[in-house]
């Protein structure tokens, strides 16, 4: 009985045996160890019975030895069910397409929600996101991870202090915090303008207050440049009374020449990597640690490769499948070696020093001239000590303490 049980899974066939004394055919089968069941005599010369699918080979061999005619009447079991299913290609195809469609739609961005920011900045964010490829209808598999988008947004939109990017299913939630640009608290009370650095004054423009220095004067940090305390001239002739002097919030700009000493070292030989711009993209699916390439086969022709990986999980409805879509960008790079002459190295050094200095100074600072104080060549490096002259505004407001 055990042999017959479960025959639905492995499949069974009903055969019809025709010939003289057909039941003897089954007797032969049984003798060979082939189980037969549901044997029915259909007529005098006909007899039907069921056998297992994988016994058909043996049945055919037995038939060859005898002269019975065998026809297959009925097939049942899962193997035939599968066969029938695959024969209806439309259904299988439809099923496959629908699954692919669902996976496809589950991996598309449907909505980008931006909260907590003003309309103005929201527009800017949307514009930037469009640049990154994050917009409704975009294919989310090849997008950068949210943390990268977050960093980029903060970098590209200066008004944003922080932005949280969260991906939930097919929706991107963005929550922004704006920088409330607080204007530097102006000292409204009476104040002086003092120097922040030492320098020689080149230009002065005072709109309010009394200037205490002249052009070409040398000032030290802390020196009062423009005073907010004005003594009325009329009164000064008479006996000075302290209460008579007027206090104003002085305003103005004092441009002075300042000096900076900087050190730079420039190697005479430099190695650097350069991307040639040649790119290759490869796509693959990752199951755990196992990767299956789906696009971009073969080895790259590039000699030196800079590799960038971008991994995104595939979603099915709200679930994350344990399958990752991996986009690999291979960029060709070249190793370059540069030998500089001393003159070139010095030029580069000066340029470097200037740009470094400008980063440290206010935006209105201007470099006037530079001088090389010292120049040494050691271990294939040129060391420079530079003296740079800059013109910049050196004023700083300082309230006058009236001693109330």
């Amino acid at each position: 009985m055990k042999k017959i049980q479960g025959s639905y899974i492995t499949g069974n066939v009903t055969i019809l045996v025709k010939g003289n004394m057909p039941e003897l055919f089954f007797q032969k089968c049984v003798k060979r160890g082939i189980p037969v069941w549901e044997i029915k005599k259909q007529g005098k010369m006909e007899c039907s019975g069921k056998i297992r699918l994988h016994d058909i080979k043996d049945i055919k061999r037995i038939r060859r030895e005898t002269n019975y005619k065998i026809t297959f009447i009925e097939k049942s079991g899962t193997p035939f069910l599968f066969k029938r299913l695959t024969r209806r290609k439309e259904i299988v195809l439809g099923l496959l397409i629908s699954i692919i469609l669902i996976i496809f739609l589950s991996n598309i961005i449907w909505e980008v929600k931006i909260t907590n920011v003003s309309k103005d900045i929201e527009k800017k964010i949307v514009k930037q996101l469009n640049n990154y490829g994050v917009h409704p209808g975009a294919w989310s598999l090849s997008l950068e991870p949210t943390s990268v988008i977050q960093q980029k947004l903060v970098k590209d939109i200066p008004e944003l202090l922080w932005v949280g990017v969260d991906k939930k299913g097919t929706t991107y939630f963005l929550e922004g915090v704006e920088k409330s640009i607080v204007k530097e608290k102006e000292v409204h009370g009476p104040r002086n303008l003092v120097a922040t650095k030492k320098g020689v004054i080149k230009n002065m423009y005072v709109s309010k207050g009394l200037s205490k220095v002249k052009v070409n004067d040398y000032v030290e940090p802390g020196d009062i440049l423009v005073s907010g305390k004005i003594d009325s001239i009329g009164d000064s002739d008479k006996k000075k009374k302290e209460g008579k002097s007027k206090f104003v919030a002085s305003e103005g700009e004092v441009i002075a020449e300042t000096w900076y000493k900087t050190k730079v070292t420039v190697p005479l030989e430099a190695n650097f990597e350069l991307l040639t711009g040649e790119k290759e993209k490869k796509y693959s699916l990752k199951f755990g640690d196992f990767k299956i390439p789906i696009w971009g086969f073969g080895k790259s022709e590039f000699k030196n490769i800079h590799k960038e990986l971008n991994e995104n999980p595939i979603h099915f409805f709200k679930w994350t499948l344990p399958i990752h879509f991996v986009e690999t960008t291979l960029s060709e790079k070249t190793y370059n070696k540069v030998k500089r002459t001393k003159e070139e190295a010095i030029k580069i050094g000066i340029k470097q020093a200037k740009s470094e200095l400008l980063l440290r100074l206010q935006s209105d600072a201007k470099i006037i001239s530079e001088k090389i104080l010292q120049e040494t060549t050691e271990n294939g490096k040129v060391k420079l000590i530079l003296y740079i002259t800059v013109e910049e505004d050196i004023t700083k407001a300082e309230p006058i303490n009236q001693g109330d």
Partner: protein, 93 residues
């Protein structure tokens, strides 16, 4: 030797209470009312039709008569017959 074996068989079943179908190589026939017959230890099928089943045994044949017979299972030395059984006969070989 054969005659000795044949003589020992019944003795074994009688005194040691061993199952007779095994020792004597006789068919064991189990019937459930009129509808099922289960025959073990037979030597092969001789005739089968809707109304008759004839099986060979060591000493002759077993003939089962009835109507609407279906062989539910057929394994070596085992047969399960379904239908309406009217007679079970032992025919000498």
């Amino acid at each position: 030797m054969k005659s000795l074996h044949q003589r020992i068989g019944p003795w074994l079943t009688k005194y040691l209470a061993l199952p007779s179908d095994v020792i004597l190589e006789l068919p064991r026939i189990t019937m459930i009312g009129q509808i099922h017959v289960y025959i073990e230890n037979h030597q092969g099928l001789v005739t089968y039709s809707e109304t008759e089943l004839k099986l060979k045994t060591k000493k002759g044949f077993i003939q089962i008569l009835g109507s609407s017979f279906v062989l539910k299972t057929m394994l070596p030395e085992e047969i399960l017959l379904e239908g309406t059984i009217t007679e079970v006969k032992f025919l000498p070989g």
